[in-house]
């Protein structure tokens, strides 16, 4: 059987389930740490595992440029290369081609762009994106799409979404089904309910192993994101996993789980960690702030990650002031650990039919003064 998702429990629109992939099973709702270039930045694979993470994401755009998809394949695939034995999801490269590369030229067939690393010219089509993800060895392959810029007029959003739907059909054809591996379609349509509905209809008519919601977290704001989820998730098949791409902060995750999303990825926990920010059960902390200089408390009293077990806020503040690598290392570790704990808490609450109670408690803690 190809990759699939099984439903365990629902509570309101929130769902708990299990993703069955070639490299293992993953309980949902789940947060996937981002291993952009074959590494979750600042962490060993053992460290990532220790947080409870069971699936990570790799970026097609970064890996096709360095070390190159064919090279990854010669090195035994992405799992072996980065020492990650669980499932891996790879994006299709579409988003990064738009956000990172230079000199893009898009046509019906695909995109030509210049590498942000060395300016070299590359071409990606739906077929090549699927081939690259196959070479990487991803459990979950994403359709190649255009991430519609925000804001977009209805006409622009429609044209962009319809191109992505044609590319989704080509991605489906290019993907070879294998036991435990799967292809996800990506719903586009910006913030327009009719376009989202049209996109869902187009994708479900093709049929995928899971459905992603793309084109959000691109500047539209949380309210518009939630409104778009409100009109999109009810249209998606109850039987398949739903993945909100590139989201988000802890309160984004909570609101999206509430709206029926099962899977998330985001660079926020690691990127914010490198900037000195910790996400905690009592809300975010900026560890660069001088007020932490002699604070002997852990980052989060409710966390048992190595940063919280072994070190004070004062120490982490000191490390950041000195630009010591250990500061970002500990904060990235803590943030990934916190995200995993948050998702686990939501999963258990859904399984026990008390999601809204737990959500209210989590939200109250975020705003509770320490």
């Amino acid at each position: 059987m190809t990759l699939h998702w099984t439903h365990q429990a629902s509570d309101g629109r929130a769902r708990a389930g299990v993703l069955h992939a070639a490299h293992g099973e993953v309980e949902t709702p789940v947060f996937m740490p981002v291993g952009t270039a074959g590494t979750v930045k600042g962490m060993t694979a053992d460290g990532v595992r220790s947080t409870g993470a069971r699936i990570v994401l790799g970026n097609t755009y970064h890996l096709m440029l360095r070390p190159g998809a064919e090279r990854v394949a010669r090195l035994g695939g992405l799992h072996k290369m980065m020492d990650w034995h669980g499932p891996i999801l790879t994006d299709s490269g579409g988003f990064q081609v738009m956000s990172l590369s230079g000199l893009r030229k898009m046509d019906e067939d695909g995109v030509t762009f210049a590498s942000h690393v060395d300016g070299s010219k590359h071409r990606v089509t739906p077929e090549r994106s699927i081939e690259i993800q196959h070479l990487l060895g991803s459990d979950i392959t994403m359709c190649f799409d255009e991430c519609t810029p925000f804001p977009a007029t209805h006409e622009e959003a429609a044209r962009s979404m319809r191109l992505s739907m044609r590319w989704a059909a080509r991605s489906r054809t290019a993907f070879t089904p294998r036991e435990g591996y799967g292809l996800f379609g990506i719903v586009q349509g910006s913030t327009y309910p009719d376009l989202r509905a049209e996109s869902v209809a187009a994708l479900t008519a093709i049929g995928f192993e899971g459905y992603a919601i793309g084109g959000l977290a691109v500047g539209e704001g949380q309210e518009a994101m939630f409104a778009t989820l409100d009109v999109t998730t009810p249209l998606l098949p109850q039987t398949h996993a739903r993945y909100l791409m590139g989201v988000g902060k802890p309160d984004d995750l909570l609101g999206a789980v509430r709206r029926g999303v099962d899977m998330f990825d985001c660079v926020i926990p690691t990127r914010s960690g490198r900037m000195g920010r910790a996400y905690t059960s009592r809300g975010p902390l900026n560890l660069r702030n001088a007020k932490h200089a002699e604070d002997l408390r852990p980052l989060d009293p409710d966390c048992d990650c190595p940063a919280c077990r072994n070190h004070s806020r004062a120490y982490i503040h000191h490390l950041l002031k000195c630009d010591e690598m250990l500061g970002p290392i500990l904060l990235s570790w803590h943030n990934i650990h916190y995200y995993q704990a948050l998702m686990r808490r939501m999963r258990h609450a859904i399984q026990q039919g008390r999601f809204e109670d737990e959500a209210a408690r989590i939200e109250a803690d975020w705003s509770r003064p320490e």
Copy 2:
């Protein structure tokens, strides 16, 4: 009893023994990873422990500037701050004042200098250096000295050494003996045998818990360093630990153990790791070199560190090319692990009376083509 060293075995001039310190026992010969600003760069304390390291070094100069010695004391001392439960040795600040700070002014009483961080003015005397090290909580405190620049004329070296000897006497007076804590004197005298002998005599007349050999690894070259050890270690008490400061590369360690040195510290394993260099049982490797791009072998076939157990040279090469933190993290980890394994191998060989056989085997492996 204050900190002391007990002799276990000798083989030629090489010695094996045990350092008895407040925070634990340490077998010698030993390599101490450098935790400059309260962190061995790029490693968690758990990671450092996992290499077999049992004692680390902290830098008075860095810690007095950030976060400040009084602040470290308020945070519970350096052990607690950096989560290192074993012994800690702190240098006196003398070497870094000379090598890092700006606008120095030295007089008989001490040194005034400008911080390399923010230009702020600081004054260190032997008494203040001992006080700072006490505030940090070091098991092993070093006398405040002037690291004689190299090259120095006989007259310059003599004047500098004699100042350090007067400061050593003042350091001894300022140090309060406590159970398990100790003060080491530092032999100076550049590469002049008569000055080294005069310095040893001055220090042993005062009496210390251990004796360091300073002013080497400052550009004199390995031959001159070994020649200086040849005329210095035979003069030092057989009953006390000997510490060669700031040394070195693997072959420096081997040659110095052969000449009766017990303790070492150096930034080379971590600094080289950040630059892409691995020290291995088959000699050094530059992982930035393109020849490693598809090399599936581990860094070192004889090493069981996480970098060697879980990853290929190709992956580490890729991480370095992408400026990913994990490259320096894995290489620092490997190098510290390799240094610990090398010291353990030398210790066991001394204990078993086969040091020269083992040394010959180690040296042959370093030059053996892979």
